[in-house]
Symmetry: C3
Subunit: 171 residues, 3 copies
């Protein structure tokens, strides 16, 4: 065995390790994002806030929440627990994820689907554009900023999506 | 080249193989779960039942189905084929997947969306919490137990989600 | 170190590289498909058409679009921009993806969800079966043919799904 061969093995191992790390980041970010619905629909306030970094921001059209305490207060609020008691799901669509080193941007849709109060069936109460900005931390990927805006025809909702796919260099 | 170097190569290969196996499990479980909708909406009874192990259970609020024959009977039933003839989709949300060795738990939402019988457009007839428990078999990942409950405000739907994310150690 | 050992290292590296390539294909195809909604809902005509190969086809029940120019014209059309101005989301479900070498088939659902023109909330205006046929190109995965049909109870919608899962050998 020549030294050159061992250099090639080393190079291929390094390339594989980098590549596998990239795929792992994708899977880990998916798990983080897709845990939001089950956490919020069971009013698990700490499971929800733990998706964010300690000073992470959840910027919704209904209000801007900064840090874990404000996010947990939203989960515990009468408005949110009222939705849950009435029957609802915070249903995420699949995420478009773009990773650059220790940062990532996910662009996706979310819906608040609620039980119809008087009739059979459910209603799409809210359809929102979502942009999740994430950072790699010592405890895995966490959200630094999540921006949600209703897709109600105003510019704001479209901007959330446009910035997300621009960050991902989608042509 | 020293023996020590070869030991390092061996260790890195083993780590990569384990890691790639873990990622492959995620992708395979996603394909299994996301085949359910297309299979059931085309009344492909064996494609549906084959998602489960031979003695797998589909525990729905509308009835508990045990084993392939009962699952296939549901697909062939007048109720199900009536939905399909009327126009419908069994639409899954993206799955939160947690794998521990040869077992996995997936937590997700599913909707039964049906064509409005008299007007334009579609209706969310059912929104369900889903917990899929899976096992690695000689033929790949299969479902041993799938539990569905309507998110209609009762405790049962929330419990399906809560047990799912607790199994995944979502904080 | 024996030559035999090095042969084993080479074999394991090759297996890993092949396997990682397969997983990467899955992740890349997911990103391509999940970029469609954000691109079309921001009227980013070139971001939409760039999902397809130059001569790619988008075969919808509302018309068959061939090549980038026709796809971009759809994005710029009064009908599409009217939906966007009124408030809407082209929301994809998670994709069942089957890859064979340099070709792939993705089977999934898509919804056009629109803001209710007069009341609160949103409406599922369209629920479609989707089959995306993809090819590996020098610029990554691109769509050669996407077929959409309404799941309105007619045979066409079910056929889109049936062909998709048959291509994937879903039992």
């Amino acid at each position: 065995m020549t030294a050159q061969t061992m250099t090639e093995v080393e190079q291929r191992l390094l390339a594989l390790e980098k590549h596998v790390g990239f795929l792992t980041d994708h899977i880990e970010i998916m798990q983080l994002i897709y845990s939001y619905g089950p956490a919020v629909d069971t009013c698990s306030a700490e499971a929800v806030s733990g998706i964010w970094t300690d000073d992470g921001v959840y910027d919704v059209d209904t209000g801007r929440l900064e840090g874990h305490a404000e996010i947990e207060a939203m989960v515990d609020s009468d408005m949110h627990t009222g939705f849950v008691r009435g029957g609802c799901g915070h249903v995420s669509g699949p995420a478009h994820i773009h990773i650059t080193g220790d940062a990532a941007v996910a662009t996706l849709y979310s819906q608040l689907i609620t039980k119809h109060p008087s009739a059979e069936g459910f209603t799409v109460s809210r359809l929102s554009a979502n942009r999740w900005e994430l950072a790699r931390t010592g405890n895995g990927w966490r959200v630094t900023m999540r921006t949600n805006r209703l897709l109600d025809g105003t510019e704001e909702g479209r901007d959330v999506l446009a910035v997300g796919i621009a960050a991902a260099n989608v042509r």
